[in-house]
């Protein structure tokens, strides 16, 4: 099958969707003529015109507000918040308005809004341009949260997000844009709430999000040579979360490591550990470990960012070794 980069897969999905549905329009900072900070909307303005690909003022509140309003009146807006770090600027729009309106107004309106944003450290973005705060949004009911882990998935998940009748926070790991992978031609969907088992193993379940999946895979392959079976699960969506796949894997292994670039406290992994503790307590054989970014702002220093901040293969290896002490 042909290979595309993660970025090309996003562009292709947007392109196909826009071609199919004239209600879809894009709104965001520098997404039009510049093609997006990460070039993930490249060429779309040229193809669909200024009416459907709009460069917005630098106001996240305006972007979200316009998105919500137009969604209520029947459009299918896809708005872009350049970095997830900026999302708190329009937090009220997202978590109090978009996420709740359908409930609060008794279903009289719905908000088929896609909020695309990027996360992740590794480019020297520091504390305001490199966070991975996706887990924070899991707290708010009414949002669906996508964390695609491959070019194939990002395209399929984007179609699902666009077709969803409710607001979707669609998070793209900015360090994955150049990652290549097999991407089918044309239209296809990847369902929400269905995790992907990237690597099968019987000894430890490793749940990893976005680019952490690939680091986990590297370790899983190493471990396989040592005779340790690491099952790598990519949840693909945080909300809804495929608890069944996680629990089934855990029932088999009894040991779990969660790898996620978010900060340590209130991490996505904290929620997963809680689910296991609640629903699979009798299968717990070892402490459930999280491999996360530390509870500090993202450092600017590239050395600190690379060596200390971003979870790496060595950290994953150590965590697996630790839980395997209980094997």
């Amino acid at each position: 099958m042909r290979e595309l980069t993660f970025r090309e897969a996003v562009v292709e999905a947007l392109d196909i969707a826009m071609g199919k549905d004239p209600r879809i329009f894009l709104l965001g900072e520098d997404i039009g003529y510049y093609g997006g900070l990460f070039q993930a909307t490249q060429g779309l303005l040229q193809k669909y015109g200024e009416d459907r690909v709009m460069d917005s003022p630098i106001s996240e509140t305006a972007i979200l507000g316009a998105g919500i309003g137009s969604a209520i009146v029947g459009m299918r807006p896809i708005v872009e918040i350049m970095n997830i770090d900026f999302l708190p600027v329009c937090l009220d729009q997202l978590v109090n308005q978009a996420a709740k309106m359908r409930y609060m107004f008794g279903g009289q309106c719905k908000i088929p809004l896609v909020v695309r944003t990027t996360c992740g450290a590794g480019r020297g973005g520091a504390a305001h341009h490199a966070q991975a705060t996706h887990a924070a949004y899991m707290h708010f009911p009414g949002l669906k949260i996508v964390v695609a882990g491959t070019p194939h998935d990002v395209k399929g998940l984007l179609f699902t997000a666009i077709e969803d009748e409710n607001p979707v926070l669609f998070i793209e790991d900015k360090m994955m844009y150049n990652m290549k992978g097999e991407v089918p031609e044309g239209y296809y969907t990847v369902p929400f709430g269905k995790a992907a088992i990237r690597h099968e193993g019987k000894d430890v379940t490793v749940v990893a999000t976005m680019r952490m999946t690939h680091k986990a895979l590297t370790v899983a392959k190493e471990m396989e040579e040592k005779g340790i079976g690491v099952e790598v699960i990519d949840p693909r969506t945080l909300c809804p979360l495929d608890e069944e796949t996680l629990i089934n894997s855990f029932k088999k292994t009894g040991k779990m490591v969660i790898v996620d670039e978010g900060h340590r406290v209130g991490n996505f992994g904290s929620e997963v550990a809680s689910i296991i503790a609640e629903k699979a307590v009798d299968y717990i054989q070892a402490p459930i470990l999280k491999v996360t970014a530390p509870q500090v702002p993202v450092p600017y220093s590239p050395v600190l960012e690379k060596e200390v901040y971003i979870p790496n293969e060595e950290m994953i290896r150590k965590a697996i070794d630790k839980v395997m002490e209980y094997a």
Binding site: V281, Y283, I284, Q285, Y326, A327
Partner: protein
């Protein structure tokens, strides 16, 4: 001038002591010779006296902590004296694992009670992840009987699995209906103690009910206080026994000798004097007392059995102190009768009775336990013909006594019935060769068989 209080050298082989209790508190005024604290070493508790008069300024080692002997544990100084800086923060770290983090730096202004807390895991604390706990419960396995192989002794799923699988440790799995199990659990009846009447001896509800209503029947059976598969943490006595016996067995090459002793005359002698001793001295002479005396006299003749190895020297003890092994509920203790060769029978009996009594109450002093130079171990009250013993280090000899019984023996061409006993001696071959040991045993036999001469000749 500040005076350090140390854990004294409590005996030849004592390396460490545990502070059981501080009798005095920080700030208390103490005089020289007053008891300051209780220390436990090997099997014995000793009160340690203050080496000076003054104020107990600082307790450096809290209760419950084990430290090597001669470790400073407190400081005594004059009331107005400022303590040197080094005592302000106790730097003495116990080496024992379970007291890590135990000693915290305590400022002199801190409240004197409970300032230094000890974090030790409780004796009943069991570490096991939920999966292991669940399986243990399902299989009716008591987690406390399983040794955990995980980090920090955590009992892993595989530990439970192998425990169940081997069966040898845990006994065969008890078959029982879920209702019976629940009922048994509610009534506090161990399911393994219930006789099952179902298929394959499965324990049914009715069986549990019967076991509940007929507890007497179960009680009349001699029940060991230990259970199959149980894991018992060694108490300090057990640890000492284990250490000393292993040390002895692996350092001293043992050789063993046995002969049969005609006890008829000794029994007669005892019968003749026991009432008079009881009347006049208030003690009841036992066979052991007579044997102890005879042993002591034999040791005079064969001092190599009253000796120890020290480096490349054989040191013959300056005294003959005969130890008597006393069985306890959970161990063994050997108090010694000092200078048994010089003492009269009445005195030996009195000392023996008192020592055995206090041994059983755990009230022996360290000296009473450490002073032995030779040991007598008797299993005469059991149906045991003879046995071997491991030397009680650093001693070079131990006498073993089997039961006395009537046996047919040939005397002057006639088969006669005599009260016979088989005695044995284990010796340290580094010191004692076979011929010497044989002579000793032969000499002792002669003494026991001719008791009048033995006890009258000196």
């Amino acid at each position: 001038m500040a005076v350090e209080v140390v854990i004294p050298a409590l005996g030849l082989t004592v390396e460490k002591g545990t502070i059981l209790k501080w009798i005095k508190r920080e700030g208390d005024s103490v005089s020289k010779g007053e008891s300051l604290y209780e220390v436990e070493a090997d099997k014995v508790t000793t009160e340690v006296e203050s080496p000076a008069s003054g104020i107990l300024k600082k307790i450096l080692i809290p209760e419950g902590v084990e430290v090597p002997i001669l470790t400073p544990v407190a400081v005594i100084a004059d009331a107005k004296e400022q303590l040197p800086e080094k005592y302000v923060c106790a730097a003495v770290g116990p080496k024992q694992e379970d007291t890590r983090d135990a000693l915290q730096c305590v400022s002199t202004h801190a409240p004197r009670h409970g300032a230094a807390t000890i974090l030790t895991s409780g004796p009943g604390e069991i570490k096991a992840p939920p999966a292991a706990r669940k399986m243990a419960k399902e299989r009716g396995v008591d987690l406390s009987s399983i040794k955990g192989s995980g980090p920090g002794g955590s009992i892993l799923l595989k530990d439970v699995e192998s425990f169940v699988a081997t069966g040898a440790q845990g006994g065969p799995r008890v078959l029982a209906t879920p209702t019976a199990r629940k009922l048994a659990e509610r009534e506090g009846i161990p399911i393994s103690a219930v006789k099952g009447t179902g298929i394959s001896a499965r324990v049914m509800k009715a069986d549990v009910l019967e076991a509940k209503t007929a507890p007497k029947a179960a009680e009349t059976k001699p029940v060991s206080r230990y259970q199959l598969g149980q894991v018992i943490p060694m108490n300090s006595m057990r640890k000492v026994i284990a250490k000393r016996m292993a040390q002895s067995n692996f350092t001293a090459p043992h050789i063993y000798f046995f002969n049969d002793v005609d006890m008829e005359k000794l029994v007669t002698l005892r019968e003749e004097v026991v009432a008079d001793f009881e009347k006049n001295e208030g003690v009841r002479i036992s066979m052991n007392d007579l044997i102890i005396k005879a042993v002591a006299l034999s040791l005079q003749e064969y001092p190599l059995l009253n000796a120890m190895v020290s480096g490349e020297e054989i040191r013959i003890f300056p005294e003959i102190n005969v130890g008597l092994a006393v069985a306890m509920d959970d161990g063994l203790i050997v108090p010694a009768i000092p200078r048994a060769d010089e003492l009269g029978l009445g005195e030996i009996a009195r000392l023996r009775a008192d020592l055995v009594d206090r041994a059983r109450q755990g009230k022996l002093t360290l000296e009473e336990m450490e002073r032995g130079t030779f040991t007598v171990s008797s299993l005469a009250q059991f149906d045991i013909t003879f046995f071997t013993a491991i030397l009680n280090p650093p001693q070079s000899g131990i006498l073993t006594l089997g039961k006395m019984e009537e046996r047919p023996v040939v005397k002057d061409g006639q088969v006669v019935v005599r009260k016979m006993m088989r005695q044995g001696v284990s010796v340290d071959h580094r010191i004692v060769d076979g011929a010497v040991a044989a002579q000793f045993l032969q000499g002792l036999k002669k003494k026991l068989e001719n008791p009048y001469y033995t006890f009258l000749s000196r």
